[in-house]
């Protein structure tokens, strides 16, 4: 197997290297790639979409259709992880462990036993050696809001600076995942329930595709944001910019929710217990 792998890899590499002979040099401004299609993006973006960030414009408008399916890919990955891993109604263990937060004492509760309801002094743990780290938890509590704020900024400012739905969405998702890691999955799930999360995934993509479909209903082609002008009450160019913004929000929601969903399923093997 190793030999074959080596041979195949070398063959493929040799073929590809052989092809580079006819490639333009690196950064060659005269290469077809930089002269055939892209110049229009660079020169016309501003007046066609009034979005200074060409990447965002191309991503969400010129090739917005790709991006919609890109979001769909993420979404379907989330669904696949869910359908593969999620186990419903995993039977409660005979006895569950609780830790008394203030003293750090661990207590066993037999099945049917009850800890004092609505008291934050106890937290559920799955194994005895689950560490309890006050510093990490506190730091994360402080950090997470800023992370999320930054995520929102990245989404919102995608028009003018590097950024956009994906980046922002990932940051938002990461903030929640950080929370889940620093505390435990149950606590995180109490913040964002599984169902809400799954619905958010669908909603995010739906915002994107729905915007496109709306353009279609308004009489122009699919994803032709210019059609939104009549609704938003602006000129078509600005409508494009706004349309891009709307779909970026959709992307952000979808990516965030899916990241969380995948993490939840993978980290807890679909049991939705303590997690990592």
């Amino acid at each position: 197997m190793k030999i074959t792998g080596l041979i195949i890899a070398i063959l493929a590499g040799a073929l590809l290297i052989y092809a580079t002979a006819d490639f333009p040099g690196w950064g060659d401004a005269a290469s077809p790639a930089s002269t055939h299609v892209s110049p229009r993006y660079i020169e016309k973006t501003m007046e066609e979409t009034s979005v200074p960030n060409m990447v965002t414009a191309v991503l969400a408008d010129y090739r917005g259709f790709d991006t919609m399916f890109e979001t769909t890919v993420i979404f379907s990955a989330g669904v696949v992880c869910f359908i593969l891993l999620r186990v419903f109604g995993s039977e409660e263990p005979k006895e569950s462990l609780y830790r008394h937060v203030l003293t750090g004492v661990t207590i066993r509760v037999r099945a049917g036993g009850e800890i004092p309801p609505d008291s934050d002094d106890f937290e559920r743990i799955d194994v005895m050696w689950t560490p309890f780290d006050l510093i990490i938890k506190t730091m994360c509590r402080i950090l997470i809001p800023f992370i999320q704020l930054f995520g929102l900024y990245v989404i919102a400012h995608g028009h003018h600076s590097p950024g956009g739905g994906f980046q922002g969405g990932v940051i938002l998702g990461a903030s929640i995942i950080l929370f889940a890691i620093s505390h435990d999955l149950r606590t995180a799930l109490r913040r964002i329930r599984e169902r809400i999360d799954a619905l958010l995934c669908a909603t995010g993509v739906f915002i994107y595709a729905g915007t496109g479909a709306l353009c279609l209903l308004l009489g122009l082609n699919f994803l032709d944001y210019a059609a939104l002008a009549s609704i938003l009450g602006v000129d078509p160019i600005t409508a494009r910019s706004h349309g891009i913004f709307i779909v970026e929000i959709g992307v952000g929601i979808a990516v965030m929710a899916t990241m969380i969903w995948i993490y939840n399923n993978v980290s807890s093997r679909g049991k939705y217990d303590e997690g990592l």
């Binding site: 052989y18 092809a19 580079t20 299609v37 229009r40 408008d61 769909t72 669904v79 082609n221 994803l223």
Partner: protein
């Protein structure tokens, strides 16, 4: 509205997939109806499209209103019009047929399953309809990812591993394709298929184009499981749940064949593929190898589903060989066989899912006495078998006819012999199965009833679609003349004679 069909074709399933996944959390009962409506609309739109293409010729749809090559555009011509119709119809029929088995196998995850199902169909339709090389890659990934999920839901102990291996191979294939597109982009600066084709001719001698062609082909072959790149397919298709295998087995490989033909015909024109490169002959020999090996390996199997998967591998050989014969008859046969093989495979796998639904197994010994116990299912199986063997008037005969006459025209007798050989082997394969189900008395260790009622057919929702498909096999066979004269003939450029 009809000018929006190209978009609706893909967007309606996509939106409804989202609705389904929402419904899965809010109101499970709605999932199936939404899916049915979505695929129904898709089928309607695709057939409408086909009719429009027949009347008006190529349809170009600019997504986002941007002109190609700057924006992404859909090109619908006779070739993918036909394939679209097949894909959507097959998916629709199979959806209806597999409702029962889905709800039996995944009681609490039906929502997610239907979501994946519809998403996969979206991906396949998108692959077929798009005119943009990179967009094709994205949709390919959607179809593949959902496919991995759908397959891995099968038998607990084997399916995940099979699906994982499929994922490795599939990813390599998709990455090769992506690389090829990149190579094309670097020398042409465009991603739009037609635009690339326009720019390429002066570059035919370029090493980069040659490499791009090769790695694109290898990638596609990996995806369509052309021997010897087929290793992932049998397990993946065998251990998948009935509903998935009867969706993926008919469609995935065929769509990849379509992609190959599209690359040959549209992107790298036939002139480049057949004339400039002197490889077509050796590729036909590869196809011959695929056919022979597929047939032999199929003989070695002891359970129905796996046997069928090897039959699929042989069929892939048919189409690749036909396409690479480089003449009109062969190409016609290949395209016609995309349609026929999709239907044949659908028929066969629907039979398998009916059997699995009733007797909980598909090994040969589970088939004892089924001809008496499930006469209609097995009757449909007989028709499917005849079509795969290639007996008139079932459609399989006619595509084989075109393929062989293509081989004769090209003077490639090896391919002709391989086709006849595989027909004979298919006779043995299916006759063996039928013998077991005809002579041996019914006995089943899964269900355990040794004194069964004389007839225990699958429920009507599974039976009626199956019978429709079986009838379709004959009808398509009888209308082959029209299909060829009015559709396929225009799908093949004048250059090929």
């Amino acid at each position: 509205m009809s000018e929006q069909y190209p978009a609706l074709l893909v967007v309606v399933p996509l939106l409804s997939a989202l609705l389904i996944s929402a419904a899965g959390w809010l109101k499970k009962r709605l999932c199936f109806p939404i899916a049915v409506v979505a695929l129904g609309v898709a089928a309607y739109a695709s057939i409408g499209l086909l009719i429009r293409v027949l009347n008006e010729g190529v349809i170009i749809y600019r997504l986002g209103g941007w002109p190609p090559p700057w924006g992404i555009a859909y090109y619908v011509d006779h070739l993918n019009g036909l394939v679209l119709a097949v894909v959507s119809v097959v998916a629709f029929i199979n959806l209806i047929a597999s409702q029962k088995s889905i709800e039996e196998e995944f009681p609490e995850k039906t929502g997610a399953f239907y979501t994946l199902y519809v998403l996969m169909v979206t991906g396949l339709l998108g692959i077929v309809v798009t005119g943009d090389a990179f967009n094709l890659y994205v949709l390919l990934e959607i179809a593949s990812l959902t496919g991995y999920g759908l397959i891995a839901m099968g038998q607990k102990d084997r399916a995940p591993l099979a699906s994982l291996n499929y994922l490795y191979m599939g990813t390599i294939g998709a990455c090769f394709y992506l690389l090829g597109v990149g190579y094309l982009y670097i020398v042409t600066g465009s991603l739009n298929m037609v635009d690339i084709a326009r720019i390429l001719p002066p570059l035919y001698q370029s090493k980069a184009v040659l490499t791009a062609f090769i790695i694109c082909m290898v990638g596609v072959w990996l995806k369509m499981a052309l021997f010897p790149l087929h290793a992932w397919l049998p397990n993946a298709y065998t251990y998948a749940p009935s509903a998935s295998s009867s969706l993926i087995a008919p469609l995935m490989t065929k769509v990849m064949i379509y992609v190959m033909i599209r690359l040959i015909l549209t992107v790298f024109t036939p002139q480049f593929a057949f004339s400039n490169l002197a490889i077509s002959n050796s590729i036909v020999w590869l196809a011959v190898l695929a056919i022979v090996m597929g047939a032999i390996l199929a003989l070695a199997q002891t359970n129905l589903k796996k046997m069928l998967t090897y039959v699929i591998i042989a069929e892939v050989g048919y189409m690749v060989g036909g396409a690479w014969l480089g003449n009109r008859a062969g190409m016609t046969g290949a395209i016609l066989h995309i349609v026929n093989d999709a239907l044949m495979t659908l028929c066969a796998f629907m039979v398998v899912s009916n059997i699995v639904y009733k007797v909980k197994g598909y090994a040969f010994e589970d088939l004892k006495g089924l001809l008496r116990k499930m006469p209609f299912t097995m009757g449909a199986f007989v028709i499917g078998a005849l079509s795969i063997i290639g007996v008139p008037p079932t459609c399989g005969f006619f595509s084989k006819w075109y393929l062989i006459s293509g081989a004769l025209k090209a003077g490639h007798y090896g391919f002709m012999v391989a086709l006849l050989f595989s027909s004979l082997v298919n006779v043995v394969l299916f006759f063996r199965v039928l013998e077991i189900s005809y002579y041996e008395p019914f006995s089943n260790h899964h269900v355990g009833d040794h004194h069964p009622e004389p007839m225990a057919e699958a429920p009507l929702t599974m039976l009626v679609p199956l019978i429709i498909v079986a009838a379709g096999l004959v009808l398509v066979g009888l209308y082959t003349g029209d299909i060829v004269n009015h559709i396929i003939q225009f799908a093949i450029p004048k250059g090929i004679v």
